[in-house]
């Protein structure tokens, strides 16, 4: 605790190099986040976590701003609440939030009303991209948090199959000239799927089961194991529903994987199921 900062009148200790958000969370306080992920470089684009920092003209993203000695932060002002609420409302008025529980929870906490912009507003309208055997891309649910771009690029996979194309409200995640995934650089590790906060990227099996009304997380249990494919020893979480593996993840806080897997670990499990031919 080499640095002391003040948040909402409380004195908090923080370590040098920590972000405001990290200091908040360590002290049991919080700020809503959507684009933040502990294993990814903060891109501070969603602006849901903004706070007031004394001396700064604009609000400051707590996920990326590092603490400084004597910093005075306010998370509870009308200005902060208003900005956060409107940001959440604007997002929810733009995209399909049906599989975005975090966004829905933040919106409810801030009493947001996305319908107040009217029913005739522009929305992100994109067809479902169902072009391979492993995962679908439903960009009508995409909030452009950049997590998939980061996971595909410098923060995990170094494949660089994904980028952002277009400008303003027309900006979209893109594989390069909107190529189908099989024609892109994608190696199907699914690390983008693992970090997507809105279900815009979803394993095909989960997508099919949701469409059929069969996806039921209350009936699922998680079996922890080690990936059988190679000697790295990645930790796997097998999500099992009705005695079938329906999804594989890895814990984000695991030392070896940090939530990342390869195509085999993430998607190569159907042979285990009683009906290995079916998906």
């Amino acid at each position: 605790m080499s640095i002391v900062i003040e948040v909402d009148g409380r004195t908090l200790g923080a370590d040098e190099g920590m972000t405001i958000l990290q200091a908040l969370r360590r002290a049991g306080m919080d700020a809503p986040t959507l684009c933040y992920h502990p294993n990814l470089t903060p891109v501070n684009v969603c602006r849901a976590c903004v706070v007031e920092v004394e001396g700064s003209r604009a609000l400051v993203p707590s996920c990326s701003r590092r603490v400084e000695p004597g910093m005075r932060v306010r998370t509870d002002t009308e200005r902060v609440r208003r900005a956060r609420k409107v940001v959440l409302e604007m997002l929810a008025s733009s995209v399909d939030t049906s599989t975005a529980p975090e966004l829905a929870a933040h919106l409810a906490a801030y009493h947001g009303d996305p319908a107040r912009f009217g029913s005739d507003v522009a929305r992100v309208l994109e067809p479902l991209r169902d072009d391979n055997d492993l995962y679908v891309r439903d960009y009508a649910k995409c909030i452009l948090c950049y997590k998939c771009v980061e996971a595909c690029g410098e923060d995990a996979q170094h494949t660089f199959a994904l980028t952002v194309a277009g400008r303003g409200f027309a900006a979209r995640i893109d594989t390069g000239a909107d190529a189908p995934l099989l024609e892109s650089r994608c190696v199907f590790c699914g690390n983008c799927v693992a970090v997507c906060p809105t279900g815009a990227l979803m394993p095909l099996i989960e997508h099919r089961m949701r469409q059929a009304g069969e996806w039921d997380e209350s009936r699922q249990h998680v079996a922890e194991t080690i990936c059988p494919y190679c000697g790295v020893g990645c930790a796997l979480e097998l999500h099992v529903q009705g005695n079938r593996i329906v999804k594989v993840t890895s814990p984000a806080d695991h030392d070896i994987t940090r939530g990342n897997l390869c195509v085999k670990g993430r998607f190569g499990f159907t042979y285990v199921n009683p009906d290995p031919g079916g998906r």
């Binding site: 903060p42 891109v43 501070n44 684009v45 969603c46 602006r47 849901a48 903004v50 604009a58 609000l59 993203p61 990326s64 701003r65 590092r66 200005r79 208003r82 900005a83 956060r84 409107v86 940001v87 604007m90 997002l91 008025s93 733009s94 107040r116 912009f117 009217g118 507003v121 522009a122 909030i143 452009l144 980028t163 952002v164 277009g166 400008r167 303003g168 409200f169 027309a170 900006a171």
Partner: protein, 425 residues
Amino acid sequence: MPEVRRLLARAGVADPESLEAYRSLGGYAALARVAERGPAWVLSELEASGLLGRGGAAFPAGRKWRAVAEAAGRRRVVCNADESEPGTFKDRVLMEQDPFAVVEAMTIAGLTVAAEDGLVYVRGEYRLAAARLRRAIDQAERAGLLGADVAGTGRAFWIRVVRGAGAYICGEETALFNSVEGRRGEPRNKPPFPTQAGLFGDPTLVNNVETLCNVPIVVLEGASGFRRYGTDRSTGTKLFCVSGHVERPGLYEVPFGTTLGELLALAGGVWRGRRLQAVLCGGAAGTFLGPDRLDLPLTFEGLQPVGGTVGSGAVIVLDETASLWDIVLRVARFFQEESCGQCVPCRVGTQRQLEIVTRLASGRARPEDPQLLADIGAAMTDASICGLGQTAAGAVLSALALRPGAPSSSNGGASAAHGRPGEVV
């Protein structure tokens, strides 16, 4: 207050393609003095001059120069010539009419902050400006005023010209760096500031064209000479780009402190004897000022209290016949088209703002619209990453303040759009 010609001393007088013509009118005297007095002297004069950045943010130039001069490692100098603010054409005139001044000022910057790499990022549409800068750089190199040994100082400084590709966002300094590096034109997270980690990660001095062109004047006249013009806090002269409904639109150089009314008088006043409706001061990123603001001194400190801004120096004049809401609609459309889309407040906010302003402009306003615009504007201003989003609501909200009765379908958007000056306030 009269028009003065300091930044524009050579514009339209000297052949912009001739180094000899530039030198015969005092060109390169400043570089010679810098070579003689050294960087420490330049920094102290620049700080004492009170020169503030002319690109819109009004950051103290001397402080920026010192930060780069004291930074470790390889340093760079970037001239931001991506002049894209609607209604702004001052940097264009400087580059087209006095390109050697830009080159000399950058060279002074290079010697002062000990950088060897200079770069001018020129707006893509400014072909003539880019061509004249390249020609000036070429001549300066051949004359030993640029290159491996600048003016016999033993110090190297090179300048290369990079042309933009048409995105407004790339005038934001960190998006500009991304553009030069071949990345997507998106602003970067600050901090770190460019003075710490800028182009290619190196400490970078980035200044607007007009800011740089003030430097040789500071060097030649000293801080006190520079301060003969302007006010205590807004020192020197300022280029204003007067356009719209005036008799003589054009570029005017006046001391800071000149009132808006005096500036309009220089431009011949509102054309055809009509009455003034409003002035869009600062371009699309600026604010509307009503006819009651003619006595306002054009200074950073004078405009701030009324929510105004010197901004880029754009002064767009609307007479009584102009449709205010049509102009507001164009401003809203501009930001919706130019938002890079990186952060939520700007990406969605500029879209929602356009939707609502479209309703206002066509007389279909809903009762909740003013509150929605205020909320969207607050989120954009407070929570956007960069200056684009932070200023994207200024013109819209200031128009609402000028025409509080406009946005309701009961009184009709059309009558509001053609409101007379007498109805203002």
